[in-house]
Symmetry: C2
Subunit: 369 residues, 2 copies
């Protein structure tokens, strides 16, 4: 298929390898892999997971849960504080599948207890250091009160404690990520010890792509929920989660203008395609994408001396060495590894595999309103 | 209509006032208003412009041109360096409407000359100081060579010189914006003087929302092309292009969690809804949105002591004063003025007007691939 507008290429073989590697690591660590599907949001990519035995997944919205339920997934965790305004959709989903919700506040659990007409499983989200959302692990009074409400409600089953260590994204050293991981395990185990008598089946759920990629041993919890690893991106390469050659998605963008006076190339491909996520380099300069050579069946590693230095709505600005500047002509298609594959995929609304297949993305399927 | 998930509200009366104000300014300045439709990308919002006499529009992609052509627009400028990989679509459009393209390099013009089967109008984009893309105004040799190619080609009509002063977005003083404007006019007039004998009908096209909003007199060019003014946003308010009460769009986001230990409220509304565009405040802290009170028919001005301080994929983090923190409950819907309405609208894929109508956005209509 000929690329004429910004297109998100997907190397299926790389994605399959990324999936296989995580499946093996989970198996070796004795934990269940409940992959986060917010990165790909694609029914077809979901099938690649099913083919290697995955039967339980994570999503980040009721809408995404509905999409994957419609595509045959029966055990779905919505890893986002339950939105009680969507009770109708939540009850509908819970009547069809094994639905797992997350709560952080007692008000949420009380609203669920009052309005659920179907049984769901509840995870309490614990903030083990990220500081975005979650119950503090020493907030025993709050935890006791929430668990009291849960125990009174027939339709809510307490599944366990869940955490997301998003602060691993700021690290580039394995030791630091190991330390974050160890801290989370320590805190989760304290909670398990405190509540195991009242809830003998309580589970622990952990996971972010940096920890799950960088660390070898993920034992000590019941399940892990990495998501980005299916595609990876420049942010993960910078952290150390993957190599450049593991990155399974690549933007293909037409060259539309050239500025020889400053060796800058203008791409059709801007913030409505890539997103505005940026990677700050060692010298403090921003990078919005690394340039690769597109080949018949994929792409090369990133080239030195050429990168995307700025994005506006539809324009990408590439600064190049004199030699690389000369190499690209107007009408060429340039390959660019994205900084944050989740956001790029969400904006691009679909994929073109290097084998020529078009795959869907949920965001290309329906209106938000 | 009840809001249960992140929704982009649109106050039609505010948008109509913004449109009317710009129509009057263009009329008083004796210039044609060719509004940029990339901000709203909505057939229905387009009709509000048509109702006040607008018949020529600007877009930023062939796809957007096709969408508005299908919705009855007959004079469309694609204000983006012509993408010669889309020749087939360009020829199809040019056979139906009065199509205006932009070129920056001779290679583009040569490719158009070779492959156009229909007449189009070409604007040469001049870089009058922004530094993103455009021919430098003193590059006479390049300009002469491009115009030679144009003169040889039956299907290309030279329409004139066009500029976009995106560097006004970095200013907050009227004097600075006036100075940028005067410089551009000076440079455009030099070009007109140089080429008017060879092209007696050549026109000048200018425009960005800051200049067109802040300055009273826009005479000296033939047309202006502001776009963002239809909605405005926090960025434009910061520049001085509008007041808070002119901002015609507002995100409505469910409150899903609360953290009393740090007075933070978690919204269902993240970077896949707002985009990651940020407004740096005087003290250097980032602002991703200002909080307003939603009313029956709209919203209040922004409140002090509460704002969106961080965004991740689906989460927005609001930091509030103790008093405002207490005011919001889980399950409430919070109003947030967006930093960059163009990107927010593109992500939200549609609007809910304060009168209860659902309006479409091009990005909710089709796949990119």
């Amino acid at each position: 298929m000929k690329v004429t507008t910004p297109t998100l290429l997907l190397d299926k073989q790389k994605a399959l390898k990324n999936i296989q590697r995580m499946v093996e690591k989970a198996s070796n660590s004795g934990v269940r892999l409940r992959p986060h599907f917010k990165t790909h949001q694609s029914a077809q990519v979901g099938e690649w997971f099913r083919a290697v035995g995955i039967d339980s997944i994570t999503v980040s919205s009721v809408k995404m849960a509905r999409y994957f339920a419609n595509n045959g997934w029966n055990n779905i965790l919505i890893a986002f504080p339950a939105n009680i305004l969507e009770m109708e959709s939540i009850n509908a989903l819970a009547s069809e599948i094994n639905l797992h919700l997350v709560a952080v506040n007692i008000e949420t659990v009380e609203a669920l207890a009052a309005e659920l007409t179907q049984p769901v499983r509840i995870w309490l989200k614990v903030d083990t250091g990220y500081g975005r959302t979650g119950i503090l692990p020493h907030a025993h009074t709050d935890l006791d009160a929430i668990l009291d409400v849960i125990q009174q409600c027939e339709n809510i089953w307490f599944e366990g404690f869940l955490t997301h260590d998003g602060h691993t994204y700021k690290e580039t050293e394995k030791d630091a990520i190991q330390s974050i991981h160890n801290t989370s395990l320590f805190l989760l185990h304290l909670l398990r010890d405190r509540y195991i008598d009242a809830f003998p089946e309580l589970k622990l759920s952990y996971g972010d792509t940096p920890s799950c990629s960088v660390l070898e041993d993920l034992s000590g919890v019941d399940e892990i929920r990495p998501g980005n690893f299916v595609f990876y991106d420049l942010t993960q390469q910078h952290i150390g989660s993957c190599t450049y050659s593991d990155i399974a998605v690549c933007m293909a963008c037409p060259v539309v203008a050239k500025h020889p006076e400053r060796n800058e190339i203008i791409l059709y491909g801007g913030s409505v395609h890539f997103s505005k996520d940026v990677l700050l380099q060692e010298d403090g300069t921003p990078c919005y994408g690394r340039v690769v050579t597109l080949t018949e069946n994929g792409w090369s590693g990133p080239m030195d001396g050429i990168e995307v230095v700025s994005l506006s709505q539809e324009h990408g600005i590439v600064r190049a060495s004199e030699e690389l500047f000369e190499k690209y002509k107007i009408g060429d298609v340039m390959g660019v590894l994205p900084v944050h594959s989740c956001l790029t995929a969400d904006l691009m609304k679909g994929y073109l595999t290097t084998e020529g297949d078009v795959l869907e993305h949920l965001s290309g399927k329906a209106l938000h309103v």
